[in-house]
């Protein structure tokens, strides 16, 4: 399945792109997506996988801690938006 990921704020500069499409196996969840993004974009690894940075992650406009956290299931054509909470400066 294909998932669209949109980065906001400082994550854009770190990723070097505003958004991208990620191909994932069926029944993947947010943790699978974050793992794959960290492998494909090592510069994102620290900011995506550190739970203490507490990025807001939205799936279909709903923040994942309101659903099933990083265990939130993704479906084909899901839109994921990642908003950094901590911004240096």
């Amino acid at each position: 399945m294909l998932v669209r990921v949109r980065f906001l704020g400082s994550l854009r500069a770190i990723a070097g792109v505003k958004e991208l499409e990620v191909k994932l196996p069926e029944r993947s969840d947010i943790s699978d997506l974050l793992h794959l993004l960290s492998l494909d974009h090592p510069e994102l690894c620290a900011v995506l996988t550190d739970p203490l940075l507490g990025n807001l992650i939205f799936v279909g406009g709903v923040e994942v801690s309101n659903i099933e956290g990083v265990g939130t299931q993704l479906i084909d054509d899901s839109e994921v938006v990642i908003v950094p909470v901590t911004h240096g400066g």
Binding site: L8, G9, S10, R12, A13, P51, L52, L53, G54, L56, F58, V59, G60, G61, V62, E63, S65, N66, I67, E68, T72, Q73, V81, V83, P84, V85, T86, H87, G88, G89
Partner: protein, 303 residues
């Protein structure tokens, strides 16, 4: 995927889980709750009078933009206060320019007058220049002190009687912890959300003192704010980062820790700062607690 209904309006689907209170909120109720939180803090700490002229420190980050929008909503209606946005250009190449554009556009949207002041014009140096000095303190120590002076100067020039800053609950809890770690309990006074009236200083207020940073980020997202993509190149030098990590860890394990730290710090603040303890800096003539103010002490490091 089952999405819980908003626990406030009981009708719309929620988009956010407030772990420290257990609430699940829809966008409308979340934004209303943030406005209410700021309004409650303004009342609780007696931050404003009717007809206040408020200089709002707007850096272009999510916290200060949230402050500007909420104050406009709260004060622009019935209270009759005036808002003027003030931005400090520290002179950090590659960082501040993006933010200036964001602030300019935001001020146009909310119809608030905007004033820009710079370190270079006020002190004769940019932050980039200061960072290149052989200095004993981190860049953030210089920037924080000079920024406070610059904002106070701008607020005075604008005839403001309040200077509102976008300090969040996280900032307040971090400052409380840092003051304890440095053994500097005297600085707890600066945490007072309603500020103090002292000659030469425009009273500083912190309407977002009870709003977690995570929620200014959510507000910024819901409002569609432009979010700055560049981080300050000097931010990594601050000890504050360590306090942030520790407190975030505690908050994740025990939701509500930030509120507890902040409310405990409030109990350590003296009721007032005696104006008799204020002196005049013998170099620049600005009010200071010492014979040489902190700004002049820091700028003397250039030699």
């Amino acid at each position: 995927m089952i999405i819980p209904t908003c626990t406030k309006c009981h009708s719309r689907p929620s988009i956010y889980h407030r772990t420290y209170s257990g609430e699940r909120l829809c966008p409308t109720c979340f934004k209303a709750s943030l406005k209410e939180r700021a309004q409650t803090a303004i009342n609780r700490f007696e931050m404003l009078d009717h007809w206040s002229r408020i200089a709002v420190a707007v850096s272009g980050g999510k916290d200060s933009l949230t402050l500007l929008y909420l104050l406009k909503e709260i004060e622009g209606g019935t209270h009759g206060s005036e808002l003027i946005a003030v931005t400090v250009d520290e002179g950090i190449s590659g960082y501040r320019n993006e933010a200036l554009g964001i602030v300019e556009r935001a001020c146009r949207i909310v119809d608030v007058e905007w004033r820009l002041v710079s370190f270079h014009d006020l002190f004769g140096y940019t932050m980039d220049k200061i960072a290149s000095w052989d200095r004993s303190l981190g860049a953030c120590s210089f920037c924080g002190v000079l920024r406070r002076r610059a904002l106070n100067e701008a607020a005075k020039q604008l005839g403001a009687d309040r200077l509102a800053t976008g300090h969040t609950l996280d900032d307040m809890a971090q400052s409380a912890l840092l003051n304890l770690l440095r053994g500097d309990t005297g600085k707890m006074t600066s945490l007072s959300p309603g500020g103090f009236t002292n000659p030469g200083f425009v009273r500083r207020i912190k309407p977002l003192c009870e709003v977690p940073e995570r929620e200014t980020a959510l507000y910024a997202y819901l409002q569609g704010f432009e979010l700055q993509s560049t981080a300050c190149p000097y931010a990594g030098e601050a000890m504050r980062g360590d306090a942030r990590i520790f407190l975030n860890q505690m908050e994740a394990k025990r939701p509500g820790t930030l509120f507890t730290a902040f409310n405990t710090a409030l109990k350590l603040i003296p009721n007032a700062v005696s104006s008799e303890s204020m002196k005049i800096c013998h170099l620049c003539g600005e009010p200071s607690t010492e014979t040489t103010c902190r700004v002049c002490q820091l700028l003397s490091e250039k030699n």
